[in-house]
Symmetry: C2
Subunit: 887 residues, 2 copies
Amino acid sequence: MSKWVYSFGQSLTEGSANDRNLLGGKGANLAEMSSIGLPVPPGFTLSTEVCTWFYDNGRSYPSELKDQVNAAIARLEQETGMGFANPENPLLLSVRSGARASMPGMMDTVLNLGLNRATAEGLAKRSGEKRFAWDSFRRFIQMYSDVVMDVDHGLFEDALEDMKAVRGYVEDTDLSGDDFETLVEQYLAIVQEESGEAFPEDPHEQLWGAIGAVFGSWMNARAMTYRRLNNIPAEWGTAVNIQAMVFGNMGDDCATGVAFTRNPSTGANVFYGEFLINAQGEDVVAGIRTPRNLTKREREESGSDQLSMEEAMPEVFTQLCDVRQKLETHYRDMQDIEFTIQQDKLYMLQTRSGKRTAEAALRMAVEMAEEGLITRDEAILRVNASSLDQLLHPTLDPKADKTMFLRGLPASPGAASGKVVLTADKAEEMALAGHNVILARVETSPEDIHGMHAATGILTARGGMTSHAAVVARGMGRPCVCGAGEMIVDAEEGVIKVGPHKIKEGDIITLDGGVGEVYLGEVATIQPQLSGVFGTLIGWADEVRRMKIRANAETPLDAKMALDFGAEGIGLSRTEHMFFDSDRIVAMREMIIANDTEGRQKALDKLLPMQRQDFIALFEIMKGLPVTIRLLDPPLHEFLPHHHDDMAEVAKQSGVSLEEVRDRSAKLRELNPMLGHRGCRLAITYPEICAMQARAIFEAATHITKETGEKVDVEVMIPLAATRRELEICRKIIDDTAEIVKTETGQPLTYMVGTMVELPRSSLIADDLAVEAEFFSFGTNDLTQTALGISRDDAGQFLREYADAGIYPRDPFITIDVEGVGALVQMGCDKGRQQRPGIKLGVCGEHGGDPDSVDFFEECGLDYVSCSPYRVPVARLAAAQATIRRR
Amino acid sequence: MSKWVYSFGQSLTEGSANDRNLLGGKGANLAEMSSIGLPVPPGFTLSTEVCTWFYDNGRSYPSELKDQVNAAIARLEQETGMGFANPENPLLLSVRSGARASMPGMMDTVLNLGLNRATAEGLAKRSGEKRFAWDSFRRFIQMYSDVVMDVDHGLFEDALEDMKAVRGYVEDTDLSGDDFETLVEQYLAIVQEESGEAFPEDPHEQLWGAIGAVFGSWMNARAMTYRRLNNIPAEWGTAVNIQAMVFGNMGDDCATGVAFTRNPSTGANVFYGEFLINAQGEDVVAGIRTPRNLTKREREESGSDQLSMEEAMPEVFTQLCDVRQKLETHYRDMQDIEFTIQQDKLYMLQTRSGKRTAEAALRMAVEMAEEGLITRDEAILRVNASSLDQLLHPTLDPKADKTMFLRGLPASPGAASGKVVLTADKAEEMALAGHNVILARVETSPEDIHGMHAATGILTARGGMTSHAAVVARGMGRPCVCGAGEMIVDAEEGVIKVGPHKIKEGDIITLDGGVGEVYLGEVATIQPQLSGVFGTLIGWADEVRRMKIRANAETPLDAKMALDFGAEGIGLSRTEHMFFDSDRIVAMREMIIANDTEGRQKALDKLLPMQRQDFIALFEIMKGLPVTIRLLDPPLHEFLPHHHDDMAEVAKQSGVSLEEVRDRSAKLRELNPMLGHRGCRLAITYPEICAMQARAIFEAATHITKETGEKVDVEVMIPLAATRRELEICRKIIDDTAEIVKTETGQPLTYMVGTMVELPRSSLIADDLAVEAEFFSFGTNDLTQTALGISRDDAGQFLREYADAGIYPRDPFITIDVEGVGALVQMGCDKGRQQRPGIKLGVCGEHGGDPDSVDFFEECGLDYVSCSPYRVPVARLAAAQATIRRR
């Protein structure tokens, strides 16, 4: 015979905290609290298997269930000495949902079950509190009718208000026992009228009604949405917890409250909570009465004139403090508890791991480890690595009023307010004039970089989490919302249109890049405060992690920031980013527009000293740490002059006609630049570009060695190679250039040459690539684009619907698609090592800063991950967590 | 001791035709002819291993070589009864290259080696022909000095011309023996003056000089280029053949000639060749004297008054006919032979498999099989499948004068002349007015289809072998040259510019899509003539091939043509192509522009009857053969209205404002449409499109079944799926629609649902896809684009340089990249079968019509390939060849 029902209480407990999958979180914890001797009202749990059976069998129950429930009730009666449906000494029950993962408020609950006219009478007699008894009954009718019989609860509230009005009462507390008895009769009539059926008098009928309603609520719209948003599978099901009621509202020696064993918002090791005397649990939550503080200290801090529990009920408070101690020692984590005091006796109704802010999680983890409550490894695992991001950027003041008018992707965290501007130039101009500006664009391109730098926040209509705007914004630490498809940017009119809203250039908006929302006007923000515990935890993480963490950086500013954040090298220096300064872009364009090698060489000669200086600056900052420099990668058309003035300037500088510049620009335009003439294809067709860059790198390295005597650890990275031959050709240019520089300078020179594995073919033939490549850096952004056939710039059109439909459960540009892209990374690693044992392996896509992806990279055994500077702390922690998980 | 030298001749032959790798083609065939008793002047071959050794060791020789050469010479002296360097009876030698693969004229040759003043004198005495002897010497000096000593041969020709002028001679034949002796002294003086060294008198020194020059010529620029173009590895090396000279120029009982054992241009089984009396081999080739016909019949047909060999030398001719017979029987193939007659004695100097036209190859293969010379399987393998294309399209008249001014990719075979037009509308208009037109565009888009149809040829500046223009042109059987990057299309001026050429709209040009060349003016073309042997061979092929051949077709015209060409079904019907007719495009645009489901549904309701009619027409033609219909695939922006008028029309028809049309169009624009909102992503975001198409398909199928009682074999193909979930969602729409149609019509309905595997991820998780998909069709075009990260539309910018650098030896859009894309296809097959044994597997990319790719698909065990109708015969033959090769 299958077992469907599990008891808990002093006389029998059949589960423990480990049975969360079977009993749900609440049921497992009630059982656990029972077994460690805490005062839990006895009860029993209908397991999640009942829920599964229920839905697999057209919402019916297993045949054994009824007997098992009856047996469990009999045990309850025995333990409490009361009787279910017994008017003499009625046992009342609560019926609550309890899923494996917490789904607060999503499913239904029924309290005070077992009341009818007879048992209410009995309860009144037994407790001596008529008012309490009939108030409980009317609460039960309201709740049950709402949940089980689908009667609008507003009707009951109206009846209550009517009575108060007729009788001239102000507060609910003005109602007497008789009033409530009258009200109960009105309630019962409402039920009859609205539902067409009588309210069930039989407590057993009530019980099965409530059980059915709770199981049914697993599939209500709210619950389904919540599950989808939180990745909770429908197959898990919910348990139903049936427990003897205890009452916090039987008089002034009764109370109910909720508490956290530590402060959930700061993490401080102080007891923190609220309670209400003579009240039921939902009164605390409902906010009709203002709850009191738990501790004296809290009361004093809040300036309340209501006695705290510590003061009002010192003995029970001491008991509660013991419970707090016991729970933390037992669960080794901060607990969120619910309790009720019935006639000076404490009952524990719930305990669970408490939700906490990022800041609190960090502090608690560190302090608990320092207290010896948990190990350092556990402390490391306790902190959500992604949440560190939150600690490094301003956030919206949660108390501030705000009007959201636009939603996009949370592309780069942090909150910012500023005046809307529509062009990069305008952004720079306004920023120079001292304004905070939000740069709003359809999409950004490398030409907008100065404007993005000047802006306090960036907003785009197009593009996904790894679009240009997103990547650059994260790199700069600027808040960014992108792919806000509802926004129409009308540059001519100088407005952005979002539905009925027209926002003019100069109007202030606020954006929260952590959630992807945009608000009208200015919304107050809070600056992040990094405490010492941050450093402590990250320090512990550094001690355990196996993978190195590098940063993607090219400017001295970025490189310095990367070092400050703890980067152990540069994993990706995108040389093209160095060419967008206004003094360089013209030379760059001359180079692109040149029709022949000679013209190109002339322009490259202008670029060489600038590029060399870039690398000198970078090497100086990185002081011998490894620096991976990627050769020119983007399609040349990204640098093309678009406007007449730009074209004229290029024509003038390079001494060719405007027509020629225009023709050549048109020729370089591409339909799918992502799959176009870029990466090492540029080095193959224009070897002189590769040679110039190699020369700049090696001259810079020998310069540093000469000046400081220190070696530079440089890794030259060839992008987008999909064949061994491409590497051979590029390598030869690089090696030949190195020889020339060695001869010219008489300085020694060591370097590695490797490639960025960013095309599916590259992974498929990685063994062949490894013949030439001394290292691989997986470019998982591009690998995702090509393996999945999704352009990060265009994905905004459908990726949200894809997430909604459960096609890609996570945005594959944020968290690596393990089955597809991950398989290619794994294949690349395996084949690379097979050809060249010990080949250096890293990743430099945006995934390098995503904790779940970092976990996968640990699985692959990569040597390092590289991410944007702001993400380095996240990666350091995530890498440590991944190491620990694999111990 | 290593063996470097291999003898051939009557007294000793050490090799055979099988030793081609070691002895080169010429050497192996000389050995083979010797062994079967043909009259071959004796000689020996320095193997290709000597060449490899030569280059591996700084152009030096293995130490054993000299002795082996001397021994071989001694044997020659013995067999011929003459002596090398012996003035009494001088043995003269020819020194010729001979690589594994024929490289005609690419490397050096030295004839008459062994002559100096003394041996020339001796030769004169012995032969009684002073003139012959000194003429031979001066020819030798000229050739040797050119090849070995790098003396410009023009200087010798000048000296000869000077002498003729001084002495008043007209023809070379006017020179006497004394004249030649004088000329020899002048030649020797020229050598001394030009090279600074004396011409070597010692025959052994001459020999080693010639050997070194021949080996050296393996690395000359010409040879290297030829090898690159013909995929011949440098490591193969060349052999050197050294052979006793025989002379066709010792008098009127001497002659020399070349012949083919069958007619190489028609394939007719007649002896075919040319010869010259009293001449050396190069005289036939050089064209100074007009060669005579070999046979009487040829002479009569050509109207020549010079006696044929059959008439002039009937006895030797009969011997030659015997040789012809012997060679064909022995080699079982048409042979290209060189012979010399010295004093009425026939010598064979060379035999090799003869080059032939496509037409001749076909005819010979069939006739040889019918004669019993070869098997049918051999006949099938003898014909280059690609060459069938040539037989189905007009070709340029090889005799016509032509001026090439532009080169691009050979995108679709055939030759065509016409007036240049720059727009599709203009093409249609001019075609209606009765002109042949060539549509010249930067690139084409689906909106140009009517113009492409109206044109006799298509020319584009951009795009690779699978660009829109190329694919559509091949589908329509229109000649096409694309990616002609030198062309600038200036629509405003109404001209195309190519370097100095400006070609106005209306000017006539001619293009040859088989080679990718474009010519000024009109060039005469030849219409293809399909003979009965074509049908015979293809019939034999059909009997042996394992894979089915389907066609990519959507219009009734294409479908009928596909059937005519022998297609066994439709493997890809691109439904989007059905929407470009002018009466449909507006409804299509309404659908795209619609902002909500309702608006979209309204437009879809207009499209449904049209689409249903399309499918009815297709099913009617295909009469129960399988038809794969792909749901809407391209990015919607391909259909977007670009011009004001188009937008206004859409606005009017759909009742929205022009501004809204413009905004929505801007929103749908994509940066990388290939990786954008397309394929099944459209069905996911707009399920109503998928439902409309499914309904049209199923209503058409039930209509046919009702009308004819016959079942329709329809396969619904979901494009671009990379996850199982996408298939689940689309499948549900399709299946639900099928149920509705079944209910509505009361007709039975069977169909399959499958997917196009065209993204790397799809192959990687093909087992997962196969849970939902009943068939896979590999979309190798897109798979190539994504696996290699190359957009077929943009590849023109670098793919040529990539081929030149040996990166992708073949255009991966023409012949499948086996290591990369092929690995994904193989993986997809394996994983698909693993999940669903017997899953139907096909390919519908352009590779389906490429013989080498078809061979690979046979290897994968695909069930069918599908290609454009014109390519169906190619695929039928290629599939048969692949089957035979795997027996």
